[in-house]
């Protein structure tokens, strides 16, 4: 089991140390780790599970903060990594983001949270809803309360009733003045288009996110118009398995607040909403670049926040790129970023220019990959549609809201 958890800042400083078992892990391990990071140049390049001379280390990096966990025994690797990911999620949820300052300002809360999340190296609860009842988040409301009441403790005096309830993710007696529930379909499109312009791979990873503010113990059922398109699904523990198995209906008692009800994958999509056509032609030490962007398959809603980024190969001395729409920036790390925004009605956006190659190089022999970003509000590109949402066990009619959003995930266009 995990023996120790460290939080490191982006400069490798130990911000927090939490020993979990009788075996004390010396801090020197962090120094060792940081040297490895420096050797690799970037902690993102370091394998998440590595062996130091004395311990096995799990590492997860979020917003510049590195979460390290050490162990000396064999254990499921995903347990270590998954747990660290949850710690990161819970902390950023509690502190409203992750950075060095916010952790240093609130390290007492971080300690308290870790105390409840893991005992003797074994994870206990990582459900944010339950933790929030044990340890109040450091928000303005609780600060106000503490000023008014004079009780400055941020620990609730009562134990969460959920630990005793039959629905462990929810307290039994919740009361909201306005009952509302929002269901969001959030999809990411991963696509690879190869050098010949062929769509090699295109799939959607989607999540059903629910934000629920309902009183009592409501029982919800959510059904889709076309559940058969889903290739594989994963559920929040609150979802009952049988109704899904027999009728593809999501039946559940929701936790309070924001949570991920379901995630799914849809394979083998046939087309992408936009096209990106890069052309590179080399001649006598220069390379002409021309990139065209346009709508291929109109999703019916506006496509916005379109961006095209690519890494200039190291053999390029200088680049001169302009576009007829949007702005082109070349960043310090030789990433060329073209932000288009929306595609105008009257013209097709294009970026063109020349790259000057290293002396001695006739033609470009490494080809950059263009990474495309976009966002479409109001559409789930997989075609998944919510049929209806039924609520039972509610005192009064709640407000129901539905939204959909698709954005580009890993959308690569090779040249």
């Amino acid at each position: 089991m995990l023996q120790c958890i460290f939080l490191l800042s982006d400069s490798g400083e130990v911000m927090l140390e939490k020993q979990l078992t009788g075996h004390r892990v010396d801090r020197s391990i962090c120094a060792w780790f940081w040297e490895e990071v420096i050797a690799q140049g970037d902690s993102f390049k370091l394998v998440p599970v590595i062996a130091s001379p004395t311990h096995y280390i799990f590492q997860v990096c979020r917003e510049g903060i590195t979460f390290l966990a050490c162990t000396q025994v064999e254990m499921p690797p995903l347990m270590g990594i998954e747990f660290l990911c949850r710690v990161a999620d819970v902390l950023s949820d509690y502190l409203g983001g992750l950075n060095e300052d916010v952790i240093k300002d609130n390290f007492v809360i971080v300690y308290e949270l870790l105390d409840e999340m893991i005992d003797n190296g074994f994870p206990l609860t990582t459900e944010a809803n339950i933790l929030r009842e044990m340890i109040a988040p450091p928000n303005i409301v609780s600060k106000m309360l503490s000023v008014v009441t004079g009780n400055s403790s941020n620990v609730s005096t009562t134990l969460p009733s959920a630990t005793a309830s039959c629905v462990p993710w929810r307290t039994t007696d919740l009361k909201h003045t306005s009952n509302e529930v929002y269901v969001d379909l959030v999809e990411e499109m991963d696509a690879t288009i190869n050098r010949d312009g062929v769509l090699v791979k295109c799939e959607i990873y989607g999540e059903v996110q629910v934000n629920s503010h309902l009183s009592g113990l409501p029982d919800l059922t959510l059904s889709f118009a076309n559940p058969s398109i889903l290739n594989d699904v994963r559920f929040h523990p609150c979802v009952r398995f049988r109704p899904w198995e027999s009728d593809q209906i999501l039946s559940f008692v929701p936790p309070d607040g924001q949570f991920k009800l379901m995630s799914y994958r849809v394979k083998k999509l046939k087309s992408t909403p936009i096209y990106v056509k890069p052309q590179l032609t080399s001649d006598c030490g220069t390379c002409r670049v021309n990139v065209l962007v346009g709508i291929r398959n109109d999703p019916g809603k506006t496509i916005d926040s379109i961006t095209v980024d690519f890494q200039l190969p190291s053999c390029i001395l200088s680049a001169d790129l302009t576009s007829n729409h949007g702005t082109v920036n070349i960043l310090a790390n030789k990433i060329c970023s073209w932000s288009i925004g929306r595609i105008p009605k009257d013209k097709a956006p294009s970026m063109s220019g020349t790259l000057v190659l290293e002396t001695g190089l006739e033609r470009l022999n490494v080809f950059p990959t263009f990474q495309v970003g976009f966002r479409i509000m109001g559409v789930a590109l997989s075609g998944l549609q919510i049929d209806k949402l039924d609520l039972k066990n509610l005192p009064n009619r709640p407000y129901k809201g539905f939204r959909a959003l698709t954005r580009a995930g890993e959308f690569d266009v090779r040249s």
Partner: protein
């Protein structure tokens, strides 16, 4: 490992206190507040506490404030309490005397009316971990286990485990395990049950070696009623507890297939859990359950494919990596089941190197007749990638696919196109591959040589690639017009050539070329032999001298030695033995999978209790048998050594697996013989070929194998080995002179391991560097469980081996010794 200097490491933050001054300041302020009851005291205390703890966090030693902190802790403010508990927990171990002070207020808090405070106090009390204070723990723990609040019971169960680690005897005497067992089977709160399970598992498995009862109890955890009890409550458990239970269930052996199906039906929905750890634990269970049912096992693969692929695409990069490692293992086991999912293993631009590398290996594995074209097309795109390491890996992958396919036309064309890309690293990788390809498919030589001939040797700098090019120049001297002249220019630059491997290849190539085209090469050969004889590198020198004498002796013999007719290599050896792969598979859902080697090769000795080996192996102090006086400092060293040892081992194992078959040029050295399978004698020992000794050896009268048969699948865990080694007397102690072939093959400790494994003698630990090696072996009789243990110290420069054999049954130890020696004598012979 570096000394712990970083506790004084300068912190970059400007608010870093200089040290002593601030601490004594704090001390003063705490003292002033200790007795004060004025309103607002708690707030100022809290600020001070925060300061103390932030110093502690930065790494400043604030242990001198211990007594002041304890004095101030008499408060009702729960945050203050928590901070104080944290502080006390951190420093109590170092200050057992003052820790006594805290016991009083912690015990009082354990009786607080608020369950939260009771729980927190109990947790802190158990976390003090001071051995002489355990007597104060028993009472509160006993009460805690019976507490009305599940929170307190949950803390108390973990507390029992903590107590056990401080003082096992106290824990057992207080009869806590029995209480835990009762709670485990009856408590309404699932988290309490889970904590009981994890505590009991640990306690009983540690106790099992000493107490019959504990090992019975441990067995009982796996009995049908207990397992069914857990399975029925599965949905109540938190996700982490589910992992724990699933792991336990994976050890249970169901009585018949109906039971297996019932269990799988019950747990099927766990495959759709949002927590990846639960999904993987379920997959492990399913795989284990169906191991003996081939059809179902295959269906399980089909069933788990989708959840695994979803996990890969849904999580953070770190999670994806861990899942991919497991997927990698499954793909390697059953590539054909994944052959239609190859697109999932396509690399995305933003993925990190380690993820891409795994994906490339999987793409290589799943390639078959139907998808090869698309996979190779995809791989070729990576070769032009901006990312150079990935470009290299993908070229190697193309080569591997070529080597495992029957229809290679298209692939060879692609490879040859790489050579035209004119990028030095692409050319280098491709040359190595073309060389391997030619060894397997000599019929392609015509096309390949035409392209390779156009490559200027000046553009090839990497030693491996240069060696490959030179090999081809020598091997195809007939077909390549200017081979002698290219070799000549290379020999002219002999002194600038840093790699001994290249120089060795140069010598051989020039010999081959000479034998085919004597008039053109004579000058080059002379220059090469002269340069070789003057070379400071022993091997190069020896080879030059050998060729020289060989030519002096007879040119026709030289022809036979250097240019014998060759058979095409049909199969390149798999670098990881199938047994190791099976072991890793058995350890599914563990670190073994990520490291790609079974846990016995890397897990820390501290937990398997085999320090004496690593200690001895670490410094090779032969004859130091006494491990009882190993002090703790050495223990840390020892485990360091051992881990380092295993990482270097890993690199050695990895080396061939990633590029091994690709790079194993026909290097005429015994060092490469472990890369060839023993069943292809022609290629297995090039040096024998070279020396023309193949026949002579097989006619050597081998010692007759004694009539003792060993169990080829014997297992013994390291702790049992160590225990036996301590208990048993030495029954045979012998010196043995090894034959020179054996010693020649012994360039790394691994070569002997593989060899002995073929004789049903298994290695449990090994180490050392040439010329001194040390091994511990074990073997079991085929019919009964009588075990033999061997310590074998080999000095390869003097060809001496010292054997110490210990046996359960001493009457057979001499027979075993003979068997061992006969096995040893065949090392290095085909």
């Amino acid at each position: 490992m570096a000394p712990p200097a970083q506790s004084q490491r300068p912190s970059p933050s400007p608010s870093q206190p200089s040290g002593k001054g601030e601490v004594s300041d704090l001390k003063m302020q705490l003292r002033q507040l200790a007795g004060s009851r004025a309103p607002g005291t708690d707030d100022s205390k809290r600020d001070l506490y925060k300061k103390v703890i932030s110093y502690m966090t930065i790494g400043i030693d604030v242990s001198s404030l211990f007594s002041e902190m304890v004095m101030c802790s008499a408060t009702s403010d729960i945050v203050l309490k928590k901070m104080c508990y944290l502080y006390v927990g951190n420093y109590a171990k170092g200050n057992p005397d003052i820790a006594l002070l805290t016991i009083n207020f912690l015990q009082k808090d354990c009786k607080d009316e608020d369950p939260m405070i009771r729980g927190l106090a109990l947790r802190s009390l158990c976390s003090l971990r001071v051995a002489n204070l355990v007597e104060y723990l028993v009472g509160p723990l006993g009460l805690g286990l019976k507490d009305g609040s599940s929170y307190v019971r949950m803390v108390a169960t973990m507390g029992v485990l903590k107590l056990y680690h401080i003082s096992a005897a106290t824990c057992i005497d207080a009869d806590f395990p029995a209480m835990l067992k009762h709670l485990m089977l009856n408590d309404p709160d699932a988290q309490v049950v889970a904590n009981c399970l994890s505590a009991l598992q640990e306690i009983w498995s540690l106790e099992a070696s000493q107490s019959e009862e504990a090992s019975r109890e441990r067995e009982a955890l796996l009995s049908k009623p207990v397992i069914y009890y857990f399975l029925n409550r599965m949905k109540e458990f938190s996700e982490w507890a589910q992992c724990l239970v699933l792991e336990l269930v994976a050890k249970y052996v169901p009585s018949d297939s109906n039971e297996i199906f019932d269990m799988m039906n019950l747990l099927e929905d766990r495959l759709q859990h949002a927590n990846g750890a639960v999904v993987l634990a379920t997959i492990k269970l399913f795989l284990q359950l169906t191991l003996s049912m081939t059809d179902v096992h295959q269906q399980v693969y089909e069933r788990i494919k989708a959840p695994l692929l979803t996990l890969v695409s849904s999580g953070s990069p770190e999670q994806s990596y861990a899942v991919l490692s497991h997927l990698h293992l499954l793909v390697m086991r059953a590539p054909m089941l994944f052959s239609s999912d190859y697109k999932h293993f396509y690399c995305q631009y933003n993925e990190s190197f380690y993820v891409k590398k795994l994906k490339l290996e999987m793409l290589t594995a799943v390639a078959n007749e139907s998808n090869t074209y698309e996979i190779v097309t995809e791989l070729c795109e990576y070769a032009a990638n901006v990312d150079i390491p990935i470009a290299r890996e993908s070229i190697r992958a193309v080569g591997k696919i070529a080597l495992q396919q029957y229809d290679v036309n298209a692939i060879v064309d692609r490879l040859l196109q790489f050579l035209e890309m004119e990028k030095d690293y692409v050319t280098a990788e491709t040359l190595v591959l073309v060389k391997d390809l030619l060894r397997k498919y000599p019929q392609w030589s015509h096309d390949c040589i035409a392209v390779v001939g156009n490559i200027s040797s000046k553009n090839v700098q990497e030693p491996k690639a240069k060696a490959a090019l030179i090999w081809m120049l020598g091997e195809y001297a007939q077909e390549m017009q200017d081979a002698p002249y290219v070799l000549e220019t290379l020999i002219d630059n002999w002194d600038d050539e840093n790699s001994a491997e290249v120089r060795l290849h140069l010598l051989t190539a020039v010999m081959k070329c000479f034998l085919r085209r004597p008039p053109e090469t004579q000058k080059a050969l002379g220059a090469a032999l002269a340069a070789g004889l003057a070379d400071f590198h022993q091997d190069v020198h020896d080879r030059a001298l050998f060729y020289y004498r060989l030519l002096q002796h007879s040119v026709s013999v030289a022809e036979n030695v250097v240019n014998p007719p060759k058979q095409a290599v049909s199969v390149f050896a798999d670098t990881q033995s199938s047994e190791i792969k099976d072991r890793i598979f058995d350890e599914f859902n563990s670190l073994s999978v990520v490291y790609q080697k079974p846990s016995y090769m890397f897990t820390d000795k501290e937990h398997r209790g085999a320090f004496s080996f690593s200690e001895e192996l670490g410094n090779l102090s032969i004859g130091v048998e006494d491990s009882s006086n190993v002090v703790s400092a050495q223990i840390v060293d020892a485990s360091d050594n051992d881990l380092l040892l295993s990482t270097s081992e890993k690199e050695e194992n990895r080396g061939p697996s990633s590029n091994g078959s690709a790079y194993s040029a026909p290097s005429y050295g015994a060092s490469s013989n472990h890369q060839f399978p023993a069943h292809s004698p022609q290629s297995s020992l090039a040096i024998d070929d070279l020396l023309g000794l193949g026949l002579a050896i097989s006619s050597n009268p081998e010692p007759l194998p004694p009539s003792l048969t060993l169990n080829p699948r014997a297992v013994l865990d390291p702790s049992a080995f160590q225990q036996k080694w301590r208990q048993l007397p030495i029954s045979v102690s012998q010196d043995y002179t090894m034959n020179p072939h054996g010693v020649a093959a012994l360039t790394t400790p691994q070569s002997l391991l593989r060899h002995m494994q073929g004789h049903s003698i298994h290695c449990i630990a090994s180490g050392g560097q040439a010329p001194n090696f040390k091994y511990f072996f074990f073997a079991q009789k085929a019919e009964e469980s009588s075990t033999f243990l061997v310590e074998c110290v080999i000095n390869s420069s003097s060809c001496k081996a010292q054997l110490k054999i210990k046996a359960d049954d001493e009457s057979t130890s001499q027979a075993f010794s003979d068997l061992f020696q006969s096995a040893l004598s065949t090392l290095g012979t085909p």
